[in-house]
Amino acid sequence: MDDPNHADELVPAGLRALGIEADEIELAVMSAAKELFWPPLLELLEIDLAGVDPEPNADLSRPPERV
């Protein structure tokens, strides 16, 4: 099926834009990585985290200062 968002072009187009070269094996690895990463990445991007600003200088050895 055609991908209307050209998602299949993300890896080669992104590499070209950044000036990063890749051989066929590396492209295959990146294609597999995209298959694995992209659905949960899109799920993460879909979450509305308004009001949940990252803790400035979070001390990860302790609970958050504000709960």
Partner: protein, 455 residues
Amino acid sequence: MSALDLSLRGQAAAIAAGEADPAELLEEALGRIEARNPALNAVVASFPERSREMLAAAPPGPLHGVPVVFKDEWPLPWRAQRFGAAEMLAPSAPGESGPYRALRDAGAVIVGVGNMHELGAGSTGNVSVYGPARNPWDTERCPGGSSSGPAAAVAGGLVAGAVGSDGVGSIRFPAAYCGLTGLKPTFGRLPMAGHHMADTSTTIVSGPLCADAADARLLGSALAGESWEAGEPRRPRIGIVRGEVSEDVAPAVGAACEEAIEALRAETGGEVREIELADLGPATMATVLIANVEGLGNVTPAKLNALDPELSPIARGVLKFRSLLPAAAGVKSYAMRTLMRRRLAELFAEVDLIAWPTVPAVAPPLQAPLIELPSGTVTADSGNVRGAALANLTGIPAISVPGGLSEGLPIGRQLQAAWGRDELLLDAAEALERATDRRWVEARPSLAATEPAQA
């Protein structure tokens, strides 16, 4: 029985009591590495003269004269770290690191560098510039990663304790696959100085891999330069989470974890509560993103175009793929961290422990690290990360403890606690060992066939 087959604390006590000669123990450890390591590839560098010098200079301390293995993730004064890779994309030179100094000051003797998954980028340990480390329970199976060599060295009886690191489960995965106790401490509690990402990573910690919780307590104490006292978990409230992390697992793993929770409850007089912890999937992705982008400061397109051809194709592809990750997802990941930290802070007012399987299935084959789950066949990496990421994202401590055998391979069970409650995890792990008559911590692979380690 050789003193080398004593537990870590047993070796330390025997030396302190004059019942074991540390020089003989060191030679036994070096001999054991020579004899067993060809089958395991757990130790990628040994240096007998350096080890003898370390013993000669060893101060009195809690680990005086005790041999240990050290992951290839930190430098030693006589050896640069290689990170399991042909090229690190980060500076690497011999030197003193925080974990090295802690071990040296405790009197321990480093007898070898432990293999690791290339660049720390895998949960299986089947890819390394040194070749894969092998699981002592079945040398055709993955030992777990990325602390593959430290775990295989302990499970194979080369040493009784090893230092690993955990950025996204890298102590707990090999602990589970090799039938060990592995502690991912609270973020920042154990030394990281000398690690090439010590100043940039917000997920990686150092930690102990040992046969049981008492040994992990001793090695963790030595690394921390503190005394982690043993105690009794007082009627702990044990939280369980329904959903993918506890239910999309191999049936034997799920059953073992449920048995463990009930055994721990019965042993301690605690209670089990079902709790809600939403968004674990996005939280896992956030952890993976943070762990992947925090090391990018050293990376340039020019460096990526000149990668060492000896790097595996997977590493080359993944290193390049990281540069394509959208910045918006990175920013969102840090907000996700805040959200999950707030949720955990609220949850830890209701429960003391959160329990679920460390990994969803036992160690897969080295040649094809795939696992069968109720939802289908997935790569071990994608299944494993689900249960491990939360602790790295939020900074809380977590421990993997042995919990049975399936197909002759170990099952790992995980407990997590609030920030700074590392000792509670060790106490709970010891209670669990008592509840199961220590049969899972005393189980040994045939490759390391000796009597169970004696305390």
